[in-house]
Point group: C2
Chain length 131, copies 2
Amino acid sequence: MAKTLHSRFDCTPGCSVEAAVSLISGKWKCVVLWYLLEEGTLRFNELRRRIENITQRMLTNQLRELEIDGLIHREVYAQVPPKVEYSLTQRGRELTPILMALKAWGDAHIDLFGKDGIAGKPYAVAADEGA
Amino acid sequence: MAKTLHSRFDCTPGCSVEAAVSLISGKWKCVVLWYLLEEGTLRFNELRRRIENITQRMLTNQLRELEIDGLIHREVYAQVPPKVEYSLTQRGRELTPILMALKAWGDAHIDLFGKDGIAGKPYAVAADEGA
DNA sequence: CAGGATCCTATTGGATACTG
DNA sequence: CAGTATCCAATAGGATCCTG
């Protein structure tokens, strides 16, 4: 890698968290990343089918942003019909702990969501156990 | 806990990830959660000072949503001047792996962000190492 | 101290139709 | 197949002022 600033340019502790969040925020990014982590390489429509009810516009957007942020690699095959494959870059693969943790948490708590999936957000919990 | 549905109500794999993301999405939520994880219990203005350049409206919003989602506990002391303390609930503490992973990734890659912090998003990377 | 109430803008997200 | 291009609605986010 060409030039790497070693300066942490004084940053509050939460700043690191904020930095990571800023890259994976978005309704679908983590889902996209997760599928690429699981399956290695996927084409555009393969991703679309897996994520279901993502629009192609959103998928395109999220993929572009992830690419710009250096988290995924976009391989275009010069042929017709077109073929484009997406995969994680090294830096993208370094998100693995985050993605695994998200998946694990989701698996453990998915019951708490309405039967409509995530649409209806979680319930109003009465978990009044404090600190 | 009163009633727990054991039904996973058929859900795509990415759905679990989506569920987790839906709770922690938002520009500040993970930062709030991270500080509460680190410091245990914090008052409103303590959080505000730590996060710096979050507005009080946003902080209030995020805290309310986190509370509704059962991730944080809000303890109000009936006194004047008012005193309100926030802390993680059990379910909130279960986010620890996610928060730690975010922090770790941020620490490792914070250099990639502009000197203005997160404001300028990351650079356009030339990391053309593929699958 | 810990917010509530308003107002406003920017960004996100979605529907639909079209294309090399 | 893998997108663009438009248009539009919803939400997130922010600035400012007020209050028990």
